[in-house]
Subunit: 605 residues, 2 copies
Amino acid sequence: MSTRLKRLFPILDWAPRYTRGEAVNDLFAAVIVTIMLVPQSLAYAMLAGLPPVVGLYASILPLIAYAVFGTSRTLAVGPVAVVSLMTAAALAPIAAQGTAAYLAAAVTLAFLSGLILVVMAMLRLGFLANFLSHPVISGFITASGILIAASQLKHILGIHAEGDTLPRIIEGILGRITATNIFTLLIGVSSVGFLFWVRKRLKPRLVAFGLRPRLADLLAKAGPLAAILVSILLVAAFGLDRQGVKIVGEIPAGLPPFAWPVFDGELWVQLLPAALLISLVGFVESVSVAQTLAAKRRQRIEANQELVGLGTSNIAAALSGGYPVTGGFARSVVNFDAGAETPLAGAITAIGILAATLFLTPLFRLLPQAVLAATIIVAVLSLVDLKAIRRTFTYSKADFAAMAVTILLVLLVGVEAGIVAGVALSLLLFLWRTSTPHMAIVGQVPGTEHFRNVDRHAVVTDPRILSLRVDESLYFANARALEDRIYAEAAARPALRHVILMCPAVNLIDASALESLEAIADRLHAAGVGFHLSEVKGPVMDALKRSDFFEHFKGHVFLSQFEAVRLLASETGAAAIAANGASVAPACHRLAQPLSAGIVTPGAG
Amino acid sequence: MSTRLKRLFPILDWAPRYTRGEAVNDLFAAVIVTIMLVPQSLAYAMLAGLPPVVGLYASILPLIAYAVFGTSRTLAVGPVAVVSLMTAAALAPIAAQGTAAYLAAAVTLAFLSGLILVVMAMLRLGFLANFLSHPVISGFITASGILIAASQLKHILGIHAEGDTLPRIIEGILGRITATNIFTLLIGVSSVGFLFWVRKRLKPRLVAFGLRPRLADLLAKAGPLAAILVSILLVAAFGLDRQGVKIVGEIPAGLPPFAWPVFDGELWVQLLPAALLISLVGFVESVSVAQTLAAKRRQRIEANQELVGLGTSNIAAALSGGYPVTGGFARSVVNFDAGAETPLAGAITAIGILAATLFLTPLFRLLPQAVLAATIIVAVLSLVDLKAIRRTFTYSKADFAAMAVTILLVLLVGVEAGIVAGVALSLLLFLWRTSTPHMAIVGQVPGTEHFRNVDRHAVVTDPRILSLRVDESLYFANARALEDRIYAEAAARPALRHVILMCPAVNLIDASALESLEAIADRLHAAGVGFHLSEVKGPVMDALKRSDFFEHFKGHVFLSQFEAVRLLASETGAAAIAANGASVAPACHRLAQPLSAGIVTPGAG
């Protein structure tokens, strides 16, 4: 079988060698994940403003698609909190929740983001995800978690409230708080308390009671399901739905419907920005989880193939009446911990969810919405990472600025505005930082061939020679800063005869910087000052040689700064250099080499 | 007088010491520039879709404002070709040419871009102009020149034609070409030919005839004025305006009117993007010219004060019924060559233009539009620099891509789309280039302390130690690439015990890269491989120390790569390192220092 085929269908890699031992492990993991995924799917669909059954639909076919195309052995795809919130935000301006148009738009959104992911894979654009910086993602997820938790409070209180930003949500809740339903509140608060207790305390306690860890784990993971079953029994026993406790209501049983995205140009254009963001955010979240888990077992994730896996998962979600999905953090960790060995665990989970969809949906009719809200709140609050904010603040003000803007905009304006502003700001800040590069005037450490910053070390300098080290690639954003600095330094040194630009940290010289170097050389030359380069890296030198730079350049290119200063100092000392530079032979890299034979340039090559 | 005041009003620097010699030079330069500026002002106003007199208005007060606030001694501001084209593009969707609303919007546009420039000065945002890379500006100006020249062809042919993109312009001209007016065509073609001849040949010929260069220069610069006067005489003598030759028509004589921008929120929002682009492009063009000229006389340009100078010039243009202005290349060079010594030359030019506005406008009634079009064509074709395209292509495909996209979009879609796409693409390409950093596995050059790329040099490596040099700052866009590379290299080396990341070219480690380094350290550590850093720069080390990185980091930070390999090789050789890294003392920068006493790290500090 060709490697190419195996790369496109990772299933071909593991399926032929599937063992009975792996099957047992996969089956056990699938059972646990199914138990966890059923309530989550219902809850996240509600968060996305969709009927709960849509969450189940989104947890069947996408899992099969990922099992075929994904490269992670243990990633569990399906509806997740952040993407559900983004879906709700994307669909809000398009249709009202509960309408057929809203549902159709959700399906189209899933199809569109699947398409985007597959196209990104074909164009090998997986690297685009790298532009979402860590602080921006971390801030985005923290803020989304807070926003989601706040938005679920109304279900805990049993009131109606609108609002998609934190101030509006709070305002909405405060305005209706007197309408709180006491039964709903009791169910909601005790569910939240119970679920937190299960998450933090149950497993160690069960293990202390002597249960095998694996069984303890299974029981702990069944916590949400237990809360659901108990609450359904309570509602049924006391007729709480007639006391104002809002329930999920009738869920249609049966196979997922075959759905088809709406092919409406205007709708696609409207959904495109949101689909793009959902694709990128989903991809980043998913790949991070997959890589973390793969590294633990020394497996590898192919970012571009992951795009195919997630893309087909979303297209599968669309075709079976679901909504956008991605690899979830919590469920993947559960899958991994429970011992899943191959993507077949995902496929078995899909069968489990299908069974639930076919046979268990009547059971969920009396399920209080407050319990689903409690499930969501407990899940998303674990995403909130306030320590990361503090850590980022200490390490880098620029990173913190990007994070803070992301958090504030997500909370105050919306998820899309938050992530777009965060990405734009982090890019701008990076460009701004590189646009004011660190430059150091360097001098010789006495008795050595090394040159160091004059401000940090006791070094020797020659008033006729200025050695400037630039600690950044030279490109359009910082080329002018370099020019300004050199002119300013030159103007302040009447005795100056030579400027040497030391380039060990210059990894790139773009066309704009090349023009600046030419301008610097011309202007210094006109003022009777020589301009030279030293310690230019191999790839940078290769690029310079491709240009016509050396046709005009009258200076030397020295392999080492030591050689540069030694030669120029002796020359300048022996005879004053002619103003037109005639006494300096037109030099190129090759010419300078014999002068420095035996000198190995640190950092070059 | 305080330096601060002098910095805000550069006029205070030169005016008190103004000499008679400077006055003579300034006067002579002002006469030449006035002769050149009168026809250009009329022509560029026509290009912007405005009545010709608006071009004159824009050449009076703005020059005075720049003389007071500008830092260049020789920059000549006023209407320029590219900004006129951008003005026409900005106003097209807002009002029809020739209406009062169009004129009012032009005034508002000038006011708005003046305001933007002044605000940018206050926020010290002059560095934003650096984001316009050389290839993008060069491509933009070349494409604008082609577009402008094509748009003027209709005046040469004497036909009506619409269109603001190259295909539309060509289509429009071809559709009406049978309506060509033969008299207009004769005047137009002979004007273009005459002006090209004047520009290229006249001055050397006059000098060869024995004229003094300065007088020859004056005569050559008067070429456009001569073409104008001759054509007016021809029209008057043969009544060509009754033969279908389109003339400029009545120009109101008198002082520039006092105008006031329209304070209409919706209009401002509509004009804002265009005003922003006009401000940036105008600023970049102007500063480039000013810096080139200032360098020749060893004067200095303050970019932020230039923002004030151009900003007040544009506000002055708005208040006197003009439209956006900036420092022009051709006229500034003329001003400089003619010997202008202070901004007073600009102020005298303003008086000259004012005189023309007051007394000469009746003269221009019979001026054929074809002659103005010829003036524009000859001026803008000198902006077209096809060699730069070729040069950029040879040097860097990425820079060429940004340039090509700018040119194509300007020609095919519009000036604004072109420059926005060019800037966005050049930023993305820079990020993409730094997102796939150059990394080299290095080995020791035998008999030295230096480490070089194993692919380029004959070096010695130890199978238990991987030395990887990364030639780029580490930040969010390339952090994942680093992780991937290290995991891949580690997976391919079963005997590996230590990875040393050599950082002499790392100028920045942002929060995302920091997390990646932590992840790399954790994963390698879990696999029984040590992870170390070497040759970390001072500022980067300072930042790392501010974080909690070293609380978890189990590796060493070595001042030199040589020291790193020497120590780790001897350690690894003596006793197999424990999987938990216990035999390697938790190290920090300070701890590593004694080991390498006497070793000076190149590139660090």
